[in-house]
Symmetry: D2
Subunit: 261 residues, 4 copies
Amino acid sequence: MTKRKSIRTDISWSTTDKITVKGLDLCEDILGKVSLGDMAFLELTDRLPTPQESTVFNAIAVSLVEHGMTPSAIVTRMTIAGAPEAMQAAVGAGLCGLGSVFVGSMEDAARLLQDALPLTRPEAKIAVDIAALARQIVDTQMALGKSVPGIGHHIHKPIDPRTPKLFEIAQANGFSGQYVALMSAVAAEAGRRLGKNLPVNATGAIAAVASELGLPWHIVRGVGVMARAIGLVAHVLEELRNPMAREIKAMVEEQATAHLR
Amino acid sequence: MTKRKSIRTDISWSTTDKITVKGLDLCEDILGKVSLGDMAFLELTDRLPTPQESTVFNAIAVSLVEHGMTPSAIVTRMTIAGAPEAMQAAVGAGLCGLGSVFVGSMEDAARLLQDALPLTRPEAKIAVDIAALARQIVDTQMALGKSVPGIGHHIHKPIDPRTPKLFEIAQANGFSGQYVALMSAVAAEAGRRLGKNLPVNATGAIAAVASELGLPWHIVRGVGVMARAIGLVAHVLEELRNPMAREIKAMVEEQATAHLR
Amino acid sequence: MTKRKSIRTDISWSTTDKITVKGLDLCEDILGKVSLGDMAFLELTDRLPTPQESTVFNAIAVSLVEHGMTPSAIVTRMTIAGAPEAMQAAVGAGLCGLGSVFVGSMEDAARLLQDALPLTRPEAKIAVDIAALARQIVDTQMALGKSVPGIGHHIHKPIDPRTPKLFEIAQANGFSGQYVALMSAVAAEAGRRLGKNLPVNATGAIAAVASELGLPWHIVRGVGVMARAIGLVAHVLEELRNPMAREIKAMVEEQATAHLR
Amino acid sequence: MTKRKSIRTDISWSTTDKITVKGLDLCEDILGKVSLGDMAFLELTDRLPTPQESTVFNAIAVSLVEHGMTPSAIVTRMTIAGAPEAMQAAVGAGLCGLGSVFVGSMEDAARLLQDALPLTRPEAKIAVDIAALARQIVDTQMALGKSVPGIGHHIHKPIDPRTPKLFEIAQANGFSGQYVALMSAVAAEAGRRLGKNLPVNATGAIAAVASELGLPWHIVRGVGVMARAIGLVAHVLEELRNPMAREIKAMVEEQATAHLR
């Protein structure tokens, strides 16, 4: 047998009488004491949140659960209609579209913020020139011909109602620091350059607040994925009770082939 | 254009200044006030839980988040190894295996319980002969040549530690009623028949407690799917930090083709 | 280390200078000599097809590649729109809906045929009473309150044009035997009972011809899955060139929430 | 109702008596005449292949069907073990990992070749300095700190046996032109720089030959996806007959948690 690198997991393991998850005893330390949102925080960060972190993290995650008839929800509904015996695959299929376009702006915004202000910077309290960083971010995006992620919204005008609420929750719990300031400054700077009102949207607010919580940018998409899985189960249940998949199929087929008739 | 049946969703919708989810104002009623687990309860049942329901539901959901190196976790890890740019698809692929075998016993147990004691029975408090129902369930399964779901465990002996804990949490919150009694009676009856110790395992306990909460059996799998999505994100993160997919592949290939060499 | 059952695959293995697939040398025996459809036959049945089998099997598989704007195609398009960097996941998501509803009637029809006339029956040429078997199948389905799979079509009237073509190809290649006769007899019998014209549709024709080829019913869905994967790639390409996902999303959202506005 | 952009598909549409796919009559022009591989070519390129194109395209596609116990095959097997009622989801899950790592080198190689020699260049026969282009490609990759895709192999030494075979098939059918020459020159140049033998591997050969066929680089992954779907169905069938998923799970769990015991 070939010599091989050993493999290891530190997430969870079991003995005959005990299940350990992230170093905690599932039955003694977690069940009945830790909520689902805090369990998610534990899974992502290897420790339980403080009450303040819990409130802020849960708010972010909850805001990502349900966005109505999204492409993902449509995918889940079309899939359960064909395979009602496989709810898990309908949710799995729905998650597959949470890529660079629909959750990407959240991830991109978090990345820009964390590139400008690294999570591991030695002294987070040190004075940084937020306005200068914001100009630099907007400059770079424009030079690359890219839009600035996390600002503006095609429906919610003048402002995405989730943004002031998430920022208020962050503030009330001590998580309104340099990332929130920077995200707001970026939005203001981009609006000034383009001569229009481009306030921080929900994806920008989540990116900023997640950064305040210390979540690395590449984990931010993971929060969206786990939250949306919850919402997609609700779409499965509604589709099973009151189906729309066949109508959607008929509507799409009729319109997409109209030029052929 | 063909006349068509209208389609409708009642889950969520947006106006320029408001987002409504299950009849509640997302920003005013939910964000900062409702935890992720309670949001899941809302998505599944169309109302927020009482504090007691919240504790019990969160305990069930949390118990399903993380089971270590399950087939689903291996699937997610093998997938992220091939497509690290698509975390959402790695989680989606991992969910696809949560079918009749791995989460089925939970669903089957809930179904047996709810077939015997319908959720909508007019008088839940009426005296029922739990022992007789249990005998009937075991008889039927045996006559069909099927095993009794929700009992016994190949690792956790003499008892799955999650069972007494979940039953204790249910009891402390007023959710230890006829379903918990029936599940326990079924385990006792099956053990007697087969002459071995077959206590209620975690899937049986979850089935019973979910039934106490009034969750229809076909929703129970949905709780497992949403919870496991959280756990699979953790496996994505560990795999990215400390990969094992290539070793697993090499190990499997070597052993599975050994007879050819 | 625990003693374990050994694992083995016989599909394919490699040495430094040779790749073996199903017992054949990939480079010497397959590449340049075996077409994709015949390779699929080899993968499913462990041997290469005769020229007649090849023609018939390829016709079946080809008939399953492309059905236009199916729910699966819509799923793939909604998914690639959100994650254009993950074409493989868009196709994977599209496949997830090929379950009991959309490909099930093909599988169900094949199963009914093979339950009535087992593939492994010692003497396939023996006289069987096709009409009696057909009556029995229709009786059983009606007694179970189930529809008869493989007959009738909501668009193609009076007849699904694929049926006579597939039967003609089967006939020309020596594969029009008892299964084709039985499927036709079932359609006639069901039509007589229900007093309407219910000719064999494409799923029934494929079920019958696949049975003639000796493909077990549980493999028939696999032919659909592999064929549809080809078609879904075409939908990915068209969606990337001429997208419709955002329009579908807008259309569905508008109609499904109209009652709320 | 909001005014909206119209949507359209040109892939396929149906009337009561006819099914059209890519402009051809499915029953008259395709069934019984076009093989599955040629159907795939039609789906990708909007026309049927010549006999030479057919041979070369089928060889490429066939070479991608089966690679043994790949991560994708393991994913499909772990998934069918949990959800044997959903073969389509097991194949779908298996496809999800065909991303930048496992099929990426093929796509990357095709992209490098087509960036250097655009498919739409006015005069393909014009003299180009292949050696200079090869140096430029290797220079660029090295300057970016990236490996050169499509060369070398960890198992097949001294040479991947598929490469000479695919190049021979291309040559015999008139598809051994500048792309094959460039790929070979790139391999030679990279080997010279790094002082080792780095012949063109199967992914490089496929990239070159697919480019000779005029397939844009972003379609090359699609060929891999459709071909692998065929192979994954074979793994479903073998797993159902002779399962290994539980053993893999036990093996992985034991080794990955050994440090905890």
